[in-house]
């Protein structure tokens, strides 16, 4: 066999196949196109319009009480992802727990929490309406705050008790200070000067005043410290840290896509059928 004969002519190879395809389809092409368009149109109008689904996502910053975490990050993530939390959420939204309810099912299947930073988690949820999605995120935050109340309420009460004790102490020290000041200013007209005894008393009162001053300073610092624990940088509830991001989540396929698919499959089906007929004809010859 010569080398020339083993080379495959590109013209013959590609042209031959196009010719085969053209002859196989032949005059059926207009019919194929009409039927394809018809099938696509039927598919377009017969496809049920998908109900919209909205996805909402938010960064939730976990609350603190007196600088301490009200709930650990991993515990919060596990809590939100847990079934009991989802049940509570459904109850809070007045949704039935039944699986056949679309809103309930969407919520149960989609509610997820993931750690984001050391004290924030990302919570995402899908719902049938934008309002419901936002409401679900708000309720997640509220439920987390309710859970944290077991820790936050006693902790706040403890700090308040300490503040009350410090306030009492400050009041007592203030009264003592006033008494000592009164002693230093007390008129001694009727008394005779007693020389060294007076000096000693003055020194003692002065010393006690100084000590009282120190204790008062410490008590006031302690008061400020305790008060600062209740301030916004150290005590705050769990809250959504940033704007809630709501987007229209993909639901079931769009009618145009279904129509396109139906059209493509119909046309390819026709084409393959025509080619198979051509193949049979070639075999029979």
């Amino acid at each position: 066999m010569s080398e020339e004969r083993t080379l495959i002519s590109g013209h013959q190879y590609l042209g031959g196949q196009f010719t085969f395809l053209y002859r196989a389809v032949g005059n059926r092409l207009p019919l194929m196109i009409v039927v394809t368009l018809l099938v696509a149109a039927i598919a377009y109008f017969a496809t049920p319009r998908p109900a919209p689904v909205y996805g909402a996502q938010a960064s939730v910053q976990l609350g603190r009480v007196a600088r301490a975490e009200a709930m650990g990050l991993q515990a919060a993530v596990a809590r939100v992802n847990g079934r009991s939390f989802k049940r509570q959420l459904l109850q809070s939204m007045n949704l039935p727990a039944a699986e056949d309810d679309r809103a309930s099912r969407l919520l149960s299947e989609s509610l997820t929490a993931k750690p984001e930073t050391s004290d924030t988690l990302t919570v995402s949820v899908r719902e049938a309406s934008e309002q419901q999605a936002r409401q679900a995120l708000d309720l997640v935050v509220r439920l987390l705050n309710q859970d944290q109340e077991k820790v936050t309420v006693p902790a706040l009460a403890d700090v308040n008790t300490k503040i009350a004790e410090v306030d009492t102490n400050i009041a007592s020290l203030t009264r003592t200070r006033e008494a000592l000041l009164a002693l230093t200013k007390a008129p001694t007209n009727d008394a005779k000067p007693e020389g060294q005894a007076d000096d000693l008393r003055s020194a003692l009162v002065s010393n006690m005043l100084s000590s009282n001053e120190n204790m008062l300073t410490i008590a006031r610092a302690s008061r400020r410290e305790l008060a600062s624990l209740l301030g916004s940088p150290n005590t705050y509830p769990t809250a959504i840290a940033d704007d809630v991001l709501v987007s229209s989540a993909p639901g079931s396929p769009r009618p145009s896509r279904i129509a396109l698919l139906a059209g493509v499959f119909t046309f390819v089906g026709f084409l393959v059928y025509a080619l198979m007929r051509g193949r049979r004809a070639a075999r029979s010859n």
């Binding site: 066999m1 080398e3 020339e4 004969r5 083993t6 080379l7 495959i8 002519s9 590109g10 013209h11 013959q12 190879y13 590609l14 031959g16 196949q17 010719t19 085969f20 395809l21 002859r23 196989a24 032949g26 005059n27 996805g55 299947e109 989609s110 997820t112 993931k114 750690p115 984001e116 930073t117 990302t122 989540a249 993909p250 896509r257 396109l260 698919l261 493509v264 499959f265 390819v268 084409l271 393959v272 080619l275 198979m276 007929r277 051509g278 193949r279 004809a281 070639a282 075999r283 029979s284 010859n285």
Partner: protein, 476 residues
């Protein structure tokens, strides 16, 4: 649970993992020795399988190990057992699809060759393919020289080059490169089907492509995937020789073996050089840090994502088919990229970190069989793995059949589907299967197959000089 009862004896863990890994590696080695052609065809998956297995075994035996990417400890355990079973299913499916009797039937047909049935004239098909590919490769080089700095000399990462300077041809190559390499491989071996030598022009084109990738900062993964797809047609041709002869001399005629070895050695040298250059010059690692980075890259990163799936699905029973399917098919972060690794990274990492890494265009290694266990759980996952193995191996046989029967048009249209299935077996990418474009590719491949089959039938069933389609003419 079995695992917890064994937890007290790490030696049993290690033995079980080592036995499972050893069995699969032995099977791969057995194929390489006794059926080298099949080894070449399956090189892409066998290398990936072996590397992942070694990494998983390392994590199982030497754990707990710190993973830099996951920022946590992983291992020890018996995570190698389920992944070894999964890989074993793929190997079994391949051996079944490429069973000797079937190959005998495929290659013993003899029959007239395509070239002998077509009238000569004009440009030959290989010539047309060569000029089109040459224009593309030349365009790539021109684009590289005109578009800005050359990453190799500017110590630039390939991602940065693609993002900042990559032109349309460069982006086209990144998207279709392995498939182009596959086509080059087909035309390289096509003359050997007619007992003529390799068409070396396509070898030079492939070498030029590899050199281009080297210049634009690519390292192991690109060379590996391009080379494997280029080698598949060579394996297909050798498969025929192996089916028909048992001697090594006939199996590798002439200088084939020597040429293959020289090419392989050059490619390995290039890969080693590219990796060393990337780590030492581009990224500036040295000393202990370099060793740590290399050990993480080679021994930890290949198996760490499987470890996370194993821990979630097998140890904690924590898997959610609905959630996984939703994230994979309906709501991935980047729908045009592999959603499997996006899902796995979302499950394994804090959200912000996963998003940050994905935003850079990067992703971790792995995905198969993780994706099927995330979808099907610890039992159903094996069924999905078996299904994917059967589809892949049968499709691979179909591609090989088309190569040896000189069905070039069908091969051309089957290539993207074959590529998607191969990527699925290595990185678990499943979202490509539901894309409209993929369905159109399947439809096009089906039409091409039936057209070429019918045309060949008409060509081979009529005598030379006669119209091959008389019946059709009548119908038309």
């Amino acid at each position: 649970m079995i695992v917890s009862s064994l937890a007290s004896d790490p030696a049993i863990f290690a033995l079980l993992s080592a036995a499972a890994v050893g069995a699969v590696l032995a099977a791969i080695a057995g194929i390489a020795v006794t059926r080298p052609a099949l080894g070449i065809i399956g090189l892409f998956i066998f290398v990936a399988f072996a590397w992942r297995l070694v990494s998983v075994l390392y994590i199982d035996v030497f754990g707990p190990l710190f993973s830099e990417q996951l920022e946590r400890d992983i291992g020890p355990g018996i995570s190698a057992v389920p992944i070894a079973i999964s890989q074993g299913l793929v190997i079994a499916a391949l051996l079944f699809s490429f069973r000797p009797q079937r190959l005998q039937r495929l290659f013993s047909g003899g029959g007239p060759k395509l070239g002998s049935r077509l009238p000569a004239g004009g440009l030959d098909l290989a010539g047309i393919a060569f000029w089109i590919a040459s224009l593309f490769v030349a365009g790539l080089w021109v684009e590289l020289l005109l578009s800005g700095p050359i990453p190799l000399f500017a110590s630039m990462e390939r991602f940065d080059y693609s993002r900042l300077y990559g032109g349309p041809l460069h982006n086209l190559l990144l998207q279709w490169g392995p498939m182009l390499a596959f086509q080059l491989g087909i035309f390289l071996v096509a003359p050997t089907l007619n007992d003529r030598p390799f068409d070396r022009r396509f070898g030079y084109l492939f070498a030029s492509l590899i050199l281009y990738l080297f210049m634009v900062g690519h390292r192991f993964s690109s060379f590996y995937i391009y080379a494997c797809f280029f080698l598949i047609p060579i394996g297909a041709v050798l498969l025929g020789r192996h089916a028909m002869t048992a001697t090594r001399r006939k199996f590798f005629p002439g200088n084939t073996l020597r040429n293959l070895m020289v090419t392989g050695a050059a490619l390995i040298f290039l890969i080693a050089g590219a990796v060393v250059y990337s780590y030492i010059v581009v990224r500036g690692f040295e000393g202990a840090q370099l060793l740590t980075k290399l050990s993480q890259r080679i021994l930890v990163q290949q198996g760490e994502m499987w470890w996370m799936t194993y821990e979630r699905v097998f140890l904690r029973g924590d898997w959610n088919s609905g959630f996984a399917a939703y994230r994979l098919f309906f709501d991935p972060i980047y729908p045009n990229r592999n959603s499997t690794m996006q899902l796995l990274m979302q499950l394994a990492l804090p959200t912000e970190r996963a998003h940050f890494i994905l935003e850079q265009g990067s992703a971790y290694t792995g995905g198969w069989p993780e994706v099927f266990f995330e979808l099907g759980g610890p039992i159903g996952g094996f069924a999905l793995v078996a299904l994917s193995a059967i589809i892949f191996s049968e499709f691979m046989f179909l591609v090989v059949r088309c190569i040896v029967q000189e069905r070039f048009a069908t091969c051309f249209f089957l290539t993207p589907i074959f590529f998607a299935l191969s990527i699925d077996i290595v990185s678990g990418m499943v979202n490509s299967f539901i894309q409209m474009t993929f369905l159109i590719k399947i439809a096009a491949a089906l039409v091409a197959y039936v057209t070429e089959d019918g045309w060949r039938l008409s060509l081979f069933s009529c005598r030379a000089g006669f119209d091959p389609l008389p019946g059709l003419q009548k119908e038309a």
